[in-house]
Symmetry: C2
Subunit: 402 residues, 2 copies
């Protein structure tokens, strides 16, 4: 028995005509698969419409009520898609998150999937139906509705595919697949035929918005083959698979750029044990995710600490650090919103030396000043002025990929 | 502990501003009641929007999928109302039909309430919250979503009020209450201060669209005081209560008119045992509700049978009867869509003779021909040409009420 899980995002079901097109695409593949599960997001704009209405009524709506409100979006799109598939002559049933057995913790608006109870889905598949599951949603142990956060439908698809031991999980989206760089910036960027989970994970975290990082992580854990492809065209898309399956990989598979970054530099921090941990502890308390950290110890036992955060959190982070002034003495805070993070990613880096040196020389050859650096096993990221970011992406793409 | 159940219909929550107004009205009464349950319909137009979308995708959408689709409407309005009430400083929680314990049978699109499991509502009320329950919906024993048919939110309100032993159930709508006749037709029509359940039931069935008949029936069974009032004005509305509580009632409390009727006359039906039952059995098989029946046995053992049905079913009924031609011999069918049913209703009729005679003389005095007649203990209905219907209502209102 072959089983596929396909996920269609909000733009793929943007209106009733596109939803009809998705139904046709699904049934056109029924001859290829014995069993099909389709995960669907809310129709394009619906989630924002619901959030806006709540915003008119309250500055601070209850998270629990927001979840009940937002889950309606996927209930609507999934039942409509099931109606469309049935109408094409293929038996189909739509299931809510709870009915599909998506069991989560009780953290409203950002629940984590605890387990999948696939009994109902299996029963419906065995009776020959195409199952349409509402993405983005689950229920907790008290039967309260929860949502999985932005991009949560990707997670629904991967979690169901893992639980059902699917042969393949296909993510249909509005781009052809994973590109070596943003094609709007780099003319010669190409769609990758395949990429490893580790690379995809780095790229997802580094700002490529094709896939939700938690979904990639989960797929890797279950060694679940994942394809990202366009719901509009007929392209093959990008296959994301285990690293072991690559014979020889290029040093760099992709170049990313994340412009939504801010840099905060704290000057004159006393270089004593416990000080840094207090600083980062306070930021963590307020759920502020820190990306890069660089610390320089200068003269007189005072250190400078630079961090980068997502720009949405920059103001909060600044005022939290500001609140530590009384404790930390004469610290000074410099905030810079005009920065971007440019990264090269590739599993080939593991076995090829000199990638970092090539990154630095490519950038310095064009007088692009590097403000911060961070590296992982398979990626190198640099913080530079925003104004240089597009040029940097072009230079690195040319250096490593073209 | 005093407990009220209030229900707000679709026009009362027609848009986000009206929904805000409903929230303000609810909390303004919190000082009058220890505990409040608010039942809410989908926002005006939302249900039709969902039905229209399904209609684009399928000529004949699955009832089960339609229920999943439609229940979203009340989930949205109830969570938004709860957000608005919370924002006004009053703790509130919204509950779906399933969470509110509305257990139904599995008849999608027209489910019947089997029982109420009020544990969750009671828990929330005891913790001091205003409970907002999604109207119109429930779940069956397999946790499948169901809806209760048009006007189902009235039924939700009454069923919850009965199960919770509420002191009062208030139905907020877009009219001031129950009128002696349609004020758009009869200038002197007045809003009734009170009316008995039996009268309300007759009027609801006879076409006054203020309350769903099943809801009235259920309220009567539990002797639950029911008020119909406007969600816009400040009027007292109409109290519906047990007949025993009326000292002396007028013969006629109201005059109704239902223009959505069709009359089918079947000529030359063999007057033999079993023939009529076969005719009505066939119609019942197709779920066609028959209102009035008149049978005349003529010469040669042939009978004429006239029935009235809701106009929506007239065409179906005609073709079903037409299909019996081979069995019934030379029957002939005459269909008339240009008829209306005008009724007078009043519990006083039980003890006052001559009401029927006054109806006939009032109409015949204006040369209005009566095509069919039917009576119950507390009502008299006549079928007349549509063109006379408004005049007939005026005449009868003048005769009995003014």
């Amino acid at each position: 028995m072959s089983l596929v899980v396909q996920k269609f995002g909000g733009t793929s079901v943007g209106d009733i005509n596109r939803l009809q097109a998705v139904a046709e695409r699904v049934v056109s593949q029924k001859n290829k698969w014995d069993q099909m599960v389709v995960v669907v997001s809310a129709m394009g704009g619906e989630t924002d419409r619901l959030i806006d209405m709540a915003g008119v009524l309250s500055q601070n709506p209850q998270k629990r009520e927001m979840d009940l409100l937002l889950t309606s979006g996927e209930r609507i799109s999934s039942s409509l898609l099931s109606i469309a598939i049935n109408s094409l002559g293929f038996p189909s049933i739509s299931l809510t998150g709870g009915q599909a057995g998506i069991m989560t913790d009780g953290e409203h608006l950002r629940a984590r999937v605890r387990t999948i109870r696939p009994d109902r889905i299996l029963k419906e598949l065995d009776s020959g139906r195409i199952v349409v599951a509402a993405g983005f949603q689950g229920v907790d142990e008290f039967n309260e509705e929860t949502t999985l956060g932005r991009g949560g439908s990707d997670l629904t698809a991967v979690a169901l595919a893992a639980a059902l031991k699917a042969d393949l999980c296909e993510i249909y989206t509005d781009v052809d697949g994973v590109y070596t760089a943003d094609p709007r910036i780099v003319e010669k960027a190409v769609c990758l035929k395949e990429i490893s989970f580790d690379e995809m994970m780095e790229m997802a975290v580094l700002g490529a918005k094709v896939l939700q990082p938690r979904a990639v992580d989960l797929a890797a854990k279950y060694k679940l083959p994942l394809i990202v492809r366009s719901s509009f065209g007929e392209g093959e898309g990008t296959l994301i698979k285990m690293e072991d399956d690559f014979l020889e990989a290029p040093a760099v598979s992709g170049v990313n750029c994340d412009k939504k970054q801010s840099k905060l530099t704290v000057l004159n921090v006393p270089d004593e044990p416990g000080i840094a941990s207090k600083l980062f502890g306070k930021l963590a308390e307020h759920s502020i995710m820190i990306d890069m950290i660089v610390q320089n110890v200068g003269e007189k036992g005072l250190a400078d600490i630079s961090i980068t955060v997502n720009r949405d959190f920059a103001e909060d982070a600044e005022s939290i650090i500001d609140g530590l002034k009384s404790e930390f003495g004469k610290i000074e805070i410099i905030r810079n919103d005009e920065i971007a993070k440019v990264s090269v990613v590739g599993i080939g880096m593991k076995s090829q030396a000199g990638v970092a040196a090539r990154v630095f020389s490519a950038l310095s050859g064009s007088d692009i000043n590097i403000l911060m650096i961070s590296t992982s096993e398979i990626s190198i990221s640099v913080i530079i002025d925003t104004k240089y970011s597009e040029n940097a992406v072009k230079l690195l793409h040319k250096e490593f990929i073209e």
